[in-house]
């Protein structure tokens, strides 16, 4: 671990301030190197950054880093795979202690991650497989997401129904959710998929609404729409409302945002349930897993952040209108008990 004196001097003041303001645990209680957290620097190298999910993920990373008192450096490649690899090299050159790789392409990140590992830097990866034994994977379990939503669909609608399915192939999380959907169709032969559609043309919700409108017109007997991505679900909901089929179709989805909550809370909304992992929690877990490695502990080859099922009934009964209220009213959504050794300081309000 080599931190140049220059960086140390430059960052010194700010880091002192950070460590004073944050951190619920006393630095002395933490294992090295966190007994002196101001000297620890970690980098977040991002591939995707625009959108609510990624904003929330970043805020999770930031709060957990602050709780630990370490210095965080954010490098954002804005969907430029080559640039992202360069940024890893940049982080290596800066002499950071740990790197979180957030999304990216296996092809471009595999070598970059290896170079970081070779430089003695601890690396974790979120939602990108860098094919490296030394790099633990942080995952939100897409299979679990799909499973929770579909189990709720079966609970609500029985084991046989006519379904519409929104899917675009070639996008890794959607592909994993698709595997679960196929397992369910096999397991419950009563589920009949009468239409499959989907598009990533943006604004996605608008484009999907146009498609879904055609689908429900052609297949007015659909009772369940499985839209395992909230933009898809939003589009399907618009189409179902426009077609006047709000009461006869139920939408099951994955992911959540404040505007999704509003859409689900609408009176009689067709969007009845979604399964979601709190992206902020994923961000926190990413930092905690990295911290464990820095402290010499093993978080395991893959760190899975479990999802939460959120139903319309939950939102209405507990009067939840935004993400903050969701976190405070559904504790399992606000915090995942993953990568939490005793010494690990948690952000305020998390237990």
């Amino acid at each position: 671990m080599t931190i140049s004196h220059r960086i140390r001097n430059r960052l010194g003041l700010g880091l002192v301030a950070v460590s004073l303001l944050s951190g619920t645990a006393l630095a002395q209680d933490m294992p090295a190197p966190f007994n002196n957290p101001g000297d620890v620097e970690i980098a977040l190298v991002r591939y995707l950054s625009t959108g609510d999910f990624f904003q929330a993920y970043l805020s999770g990373v930031e709060t957990q880093a602050a709780a630990l008192g370490v210095n965080l450096r954010v490098l954002d490649s804005r969907q430029d795979a080559a640039l992202q690899a360069d940024m890893v090299d940049q982080a290596i050159a800066l002499g950071v202690d740990g790197i979180i790789i957030q999304h990216g392409l296996t092809e471009s990140m595999k070598e970059a991650a290896q170079r970081a590992v070779d430089a003695g830097i601890k690396v974790v990866a979120f939602d990108v497989n860098v094919e490296n034994q030394a790099v633990p994977q942080i995952e939100q379990s897409d299979r679990d997401l799909a499973r929770l939503a579909l189990e709720q669909a079966i609970k609500d609608n029985g084991e046989s129904f006519r379904a519409g399915y929104v899917y675009v192939a070639g996008i890794a999380p959607l592909d994993r959710r698709d595997e679960t959907w196929r397992e369910f169709k096999e397991k419950y032969p009563g589920i009949e998929e009468v239409a499959q559609f989907g598009t990533m043309d943006n604004p996605i919700a608008n484009s999907v609404a146009n498609q879904a409108r055609s689908v429900v017109t052609a297949n007015p007997d659909i009772t369940v729409m499985f839209a395992p991505y909230d933009e898809f679900a939003k589009g399907v909901k618009i189409a179902v409302d426009e077609a006047g089929l709000t009461s006869s179709v139920k939408i099951y989805s994955a992911d959540i945002s404040t505007s999704d909550i509003a859409a689900m809370r609408e009176p009689g909304s067709a969007w009845v349930a979604t399964a979601a992992t709190n992206p902020a929690v994923v961000g926190e877990v990413s930092v905690r897993a990295l911290a464990m490695m820095l402290a010499g502990e093993d978080p395991g080859a893959s760190v899975i952040v479990p999802p939460t099922l959120i139903t319309q009934a939950d939102l209405l009964d507990k009067n939840i209108t935004n993400m903050e209220e969701l976190g405070s009213n559904l504790p399992q959504f606000a915090h995942a008990d993953v990568a939490t050794p005793d010494w690990m300081p948690l952000p305020e309000g998390r237990e």
């Binding site: 604004p203 608008n206 017109t217 006047g244 505007s259 935004n322 903050e324």
Partner: protein, 347 residues
């Protein structure tokens, strides 16, 4: 040849009504009718008033954008910024209502103002700064994609969202505004015509009348066909060009308003797909009735064509990538109609 004076006609007679000319003139309209019949036969529920209205609704936003870009094509320009103008207007209306707590009128006016301002800037860049139209509007596109993220630091806007300063935005989309996306007028059948379709039809008629039947429209065509000749015929060429970009900007912002009203939130989006679909509709319009030039009627038919195709294909369960393929194929065929077959295109 008989003994003739030198002034005897040497003009070539007009092209006779042969197969090629019939094809150029009515090919696309026939194809559209054929498609409608095909889809009606192949799918359940295609041939119904609701379905017809839905086709219009699905193309209303791109159609409105396409009508706007038609105005810039008429003066020989191009506007790549329309997609991002629409999404910026969507963000702006959401911001006005959700964050600032404004009402529907304020939100709408804010959007229209954005359209006018962007159009003016585009026009001034192109006319007075002599930036080529594609480059000026490309720059504007990037600028707007970035600008719409600044107030919320890249978050989408919805009621209850937390702002960069930690406060929570408590405004809501006003019901009147949402009605723009959701209300339906009775038309033969109860609750048949959505507002967006009415707006599309109204704007199509307005821009068609403006371009075809007013002297301003005619002058815009003259500017697009021979700028210097138009100037020497007394046309204030610069004003017409700037005006065309303002029309384009305003139409795009109207599209953005309808988009926001339909989605009920402000989504971060580049609007590139809106741009591409709109441009495709306008270019397909060149081929309608053998016009070989940008025209409002053709643009409307072009948009309808894309809408019919996409709805029909979706109803037949065709995956999305085949739809892109078909859209592209239609565009290529339309361009062949325009440039290779028509006699104007030859020159």
């Amino acid at each position: 040849m008989t003994e003739t004076l030198a002034t005897t006609p040497t003009a070539r007679p007009r092209a006779p009504l042969n197969l090629r000319n019939v094809l150029i003139r009515y090919g696309f309209v026939t194809l559209l009718l054929g498609l409608i019949i095909f889809f009606s036969a192949m799918t359940r529920g295609f041939a119904s008033p609701q379905s017809a209205v839905f086709v219009l609704q699905s193309v209303s936003i791109t159609g409105i954008l396409a009508l706007g870009v038609t105005a810039t094509l008429v003066v020989g320009g191009f506007d790549l910024s329309i997609g991002s103008v629409a999404t910026t207007a969507m963000m702006a209306s959401s911001y006005v209502m959700v964050v600032m707590g404004g009402d529907a009128v304020t939100a709408t006016l804010a959007c229209l103002a954005i359209g006018v301002v962007v159009g003016l800037i585009n026009g001034v860049l192109i006319v007075y700064m002599r930036v080529p139209d594609l480059l000026a509007t490309l720059g504007m596109m990037f600028l707007l994609v970035g600008l719409q993220r600044i107030p919320t630091e890249g978050r989408s806007i919805a009621t209850g969202m937390s702002m960069p300063d930690g406060s929570v935005a408590n405004g809501t989309f006003s019901p009147e505004f949402l009605a723009l996306g959701r209300h339906r007028f009775d038309f033969f059948l109860p609750s048949l015509l959505p507002v967006s379709v009415v707006v599309l039809i109204a704007l199509a008629v307005v821009i068609w009348f403006f371009l075809e039947h007013t002297r301003f429209g005619r002058m815009m065509y003259a500017v697009g066909s021979n700028e210097r000749a138009a100037q020497l015929a007394g046309a204030p060429v610069n004003a017409y060009k700037i005006g065309a970009y303002v029309i384009s900007g305003v139409f795009a912002s109207i599209g953005g308003i309808l988009l926001a009203a339909r989605l009920g939130r402000g989504d971060i989006a580049s609007g590139n797909n809106l741009l591409l679909d709109a441009v495709a509709a306008a270019l397909i319009g060149f081929a309608v009735l053998g016009a070989s030039k940008p025209n409002a009627f053709g643009t409307a038919i072009g948009a309808l064509f894309v809408g019919v195709l996409l709805q029909g294909l979706t109803m037949m369960n065709a995956p999305y990538y085949t739809q892109d393929f078909v859209k592209g194929a239609v565009l290529v065929v339309a361009l062949v109609f325009t440039f290779a077959l028509s006699k104007r295109g030859k020159r």
